[in-house]
């Protein structure tokens, strides 16, 4: 019998600590599969964030480092500059990258660091209990915005992919989603392209992945995917913003 699908060897056997239906697991798989397919699994060093995926060092079988909150691109810069032969990626959520770590990501892109960033945007702070993030949609309820985010009080959500694409040093920027099998396949291709760019030594790549948070959004896993499709995708349009 031919194997159609099998768990990637770049993932460990540890059970994921994410909630049922959280699409972090799907994005982990895509990163792991690309590491193996590009043959960089042995020399990859990942930098994890603070947030739900702060435990991702237990799940990726490659070398991992968990940086301070938002500082993953800064740590990855250091790793890549001391080990230029290694493959370095960061894996960050929206509370990490789009809020406390905005300076780090903007300047890593600005310097054209040869690293790849996977930015998981689920429009909320997951681990700490569903607080409003910079990416939370106007009107979306969060524990710190019980009546929904107010535009007058908090402004409109920040679009990271568009912002990073304006920076010269960023060579690949794409926004993808994992809400259905077709989009998962597209997401895998985008991550592959960002990784290839690093291997070619061209520069910084960022892939923004729209993700779900069924627990804090208050939906079942399946309905959370529908909510993502109906609400997040119209505000955060999918597509490529820059390809060197």
């Amino acid at each position: 019998m031919a194997v159609v699908y099998k768990k990637s060897i770049a993932l460990t056997d540890a059970p994921l600590t994410y909630c049922p239906g959280c699409t972090h697991g799907i994005i982990h798989k895509l990163v792991a599969e690309n590491l193996v397919e590009l043959g960089v699994y042995d020399k990859a060093i990942g930098v994890g964030p603070v947030g739900c995926s702060a435990l991702c060092d237990f799940f990726f079988a490659c070398d991992m480092y968990i940086a301070g909150h938002g500082r993953a691109p800064a740590v990855a810069t250091g790793i890549k500059r001391t080990h230029p032969d290694k493959f370095v990626f960061t894996y960050q959520g929206d509370g990490d990258l789009a809020s406390i770590g905005t300076a780090e990501i903007v300047h890593a892109a600005h310097r054209g660091e040869k690293i790849s960033t996977i930015f998981v945007n689920n429009a909320i702070y997951g681990m700490t209990g569903g607080q409003m993030a910079p990416t939370t949609l106007v009107g979306q309820k969060a524990t710190t915005a019980p009546y929904g985010r107010s535009e007058e009080h908090c402004g409109k959500p920040i679009r990271i992919a568009e912002m990073i694409a304006t920076i010269e040093g960023a060579k690949f920027v794409e926004r993808v989603s994992v809400n259905n099998p077709a989009n998962v396949r597209k997401a895998k291709k985008a991550i592959r392209r960002a990784f290839e760019l690093q291997l070619e030594g061209k520069g910084f790549g960022l892939v923004e992945v729209l993700s779900t948070c069924p627990t804090n959004w208050g939906y079942s896993a399946v309905n959370a995917l529908k909510w993502l499709e109906e609400n997040l995708i119209p505000y955060y349009p999918l597509g490529n913003y820059k390809d060197y």
Partner: protein, 69 residues
Amino acid sequence: MAKGKLTIDSEKCKGCELCVNFCPKKTLELGKETNTKGYFPVTVVNDECIACGTCAIMCPDSIITVEKE
């Protein structure tokens, strides 16, 4: 006759139903008995699997292995 063979690691299943939702042949459903974590793990309920791998692609916990005849 099923073209595909699904191997499910029931102990790691969290019963999120993403695979159930996306299976084109409705081959998967949640089981009646819980695993040790208290989730109802997904089970194969008919033999119409076409080995498309959609369930495995959408499984966040990577617990489904798909083989084709």
